[in-house]
Amino acid sequence: MELTETWYLVLSALLFSIGATGLLIRRNPLVMFMCVELMLNAVNITFVTFSNSLQDLSGQTAVFFVLVVAAAEVVVGLSIVVAVMRRNPQADADDISVLRG
């Protein structure tokens, strides 16, 4: 058996689908953020796979930017969750609607 890029892409598709499913079925905002991270990691696997198979480093540079955006997203998202959950520790995804004006 030889390890082709298809294997990696199947792994990435599975990981992305698990992340998307988790985002839809879980109601804890923290766990939903973790599922977003899983989806971003699936995309990173795809980037690195094509970077490797095409012998082009641009894919790895793209992973850097995904990493930075993920970090920024987590920082802002978690601070919103902290602001909401301080007042109502049992808050779930629906209670984020208190953010509306």
Partner: protein, 192 residues
């Protein structure tokens, strides 16, 4: 053969960790499961000779981001299990699972069925070979740095701006002393 075995093991860790994230009712367990998944992804990077990215994956994702998650979980004191059987929105879970299965079928279908002449991946999507800049003899970090600071310098500066905005935003959001008290007027929402 060795790389196939390594791939199978790390892939099992990645998928097992991911299933743990959406399966555990306790957020702390989900976060630890997330770390396992990130380590698996790092091993996948190593198999594909992206050594520097594997390092960054462990330090930034498994280190910084998950620790941030754990900090917030501990800070809020919400490290209590959520009853997964309770289903506030009727039909949300079956519909979510159905959507996930459809998404998987779509991506796998795109992977295996697409393309003129049975091409796969990027060639199938765009119909043309990508512009290949061959990886040369220099070290990978050197080439990555050159790519980052020459072709992508504008994007790099934009991310600097993005991170600054995110930091300021986090401080403003969490520290609202003197600000207006948030009033929760949702019916059925218990206010402590």
């Amino acid at each position: 053969m060795v790389d196939v075995i390594t791939f199978l093991i790390s892939g099992a860790i990645v998928l097992g960790g991911a299933l743990g994230v959406i399966g555990f009712s306790n957020p702390v367990h989900a976060a630890l499961s997330l770390i396992a998944s990130f380590f698996g992804v790092a091993v996948v990077f190593v198999i594909q000779e992206a050594h520097f990215l594997a390092l960054v994956q462990v330090v930034v994702y498994a280190g910084a981001i998950v620790v941030l998650f754990l900090f917030v979980i501990m800070l809020l004191g919400v490290d209590t299990a959520q009853d997964l059987r309770a289903e506030p929105l009727v039909g949300q879970r079956p519909l979510g699972l159905l959507f996930g299965a459809l998404l998987l079928a779509l991506t796998l279908g795109g992977l295996f069925l697409s393309g003129p002449g049975g091409d796969q991946g990027a060639v199938a999507l765009s119909g043309q070979e990508s512009v290949v800049r061959p990886i040369d003899d220099r070290s990978q970090i050197e080439q990555l740095g050159e790519d980052l600071f020459s072709r992508n310098i504008l994007a790099f500066q934009a991310t600097a701006l993005l991170l600054t905005i995110a930091t300021v935003g986090a401080v403003v959001l969490v520290n609202n002393k003197g600000g207006e008290e948030l009033v929760i007027d949702e019916p059925g929402l218990s206010v402590e």
